[in-house]
Amino acid sequence: MINTNRRSFLKGTAATGVITLAAASGLLRPTKVMAASWPKNAFAEKSVEGAMKALYGSSNASPSKDLHITANLQAENGAMVPVQIQTPMKADAISIYVKENTNPLVTNLKLTGGAGFYRANIKMAKTSEVQFVVQSGGKLYTAKQKIKVTAGGCGG
């Protein structure tokens, strides 16, 4: 999260400039309705348990073998780590956490008929456990995988 390599730094600066222009010229209108339901508190939580409580009202998740994680054990660049989770359960929500990030919650997916599948490219500050939580039938299930981040030069 804190680490940014030079490439993404340059890309970010260029793109931000374009947005500022667009906003100034009044091309964009804020979407207050959508933004209002964004769970700000959960994203600000400093622990995995806290974020889970903010999202689901409980942090009591049982480990499950039905959560299939697809992710590399080692990531060369913490700014872009692809992870994927798939479950045969009838999932109502899927969330992803990086334990060592300042704010562990990465994303939460609410399902209203979609399949138990989610993939995302996440940012990781450093080597950490990545935790996946699936809400199904009012219960929470979890699975973890440690992903090593080697960016920084010393190879972890």
């Binding site: 999260m1 931000t16 964009l28 804020p30 933004a35 964004w38 399902l111 008929g113 979609g114």
Partner: protein, 105 residues
């Protein structure tokens, strides 16, 4: 806004995967601009929704820990060729876009 916005669908493991690629800086608000020494304001996608034949099937809340130019994947149940898939996103600055594709087209 001409942001890169691509949607691809593919069948795998009995479901149809919807892969969405958006060209977006995903600024965390913690990064410091090296020339001005000021923090770059946060600018990131907060919401993504997926509609399958007009019915919303998934809604994602994204935080700052999603990578720049994010590639996100969602799953559809009992989807078939010819079905319509619509993906919409919006960010914390009110920017938004949506796009509809037809499976197997």
């Amino acid at each position: 806004m001409a942001r890169k916005f691509k949607i691809r669908t593919r069948e795998a493991d009995g479901i149809v995967q919807v892969l969405v690629l958006i060209g977006h800086p995903m600024e965390t608000g913690m990064r410091v601009d090296k020339t001005t020494k000021k923090k770059v304001p946060a600018h990131f996608i907060q919401k993504m929704t997926v509609e399958h034949n007009g019915k919303q099937v998934a809604e994602a809340d994204l935080g700052i820990a999603i990578s720049a130019d994010p590639l996100m994947g969602f799953g559809l149940v009992s989807a078939k060729a010819g079905d319509k898939v619509k993906v919409s996103w919006s960010d914390n600055k009110g920017e938004q876009d949506s796009k509809e594709v037809v499976i197997g087209a």
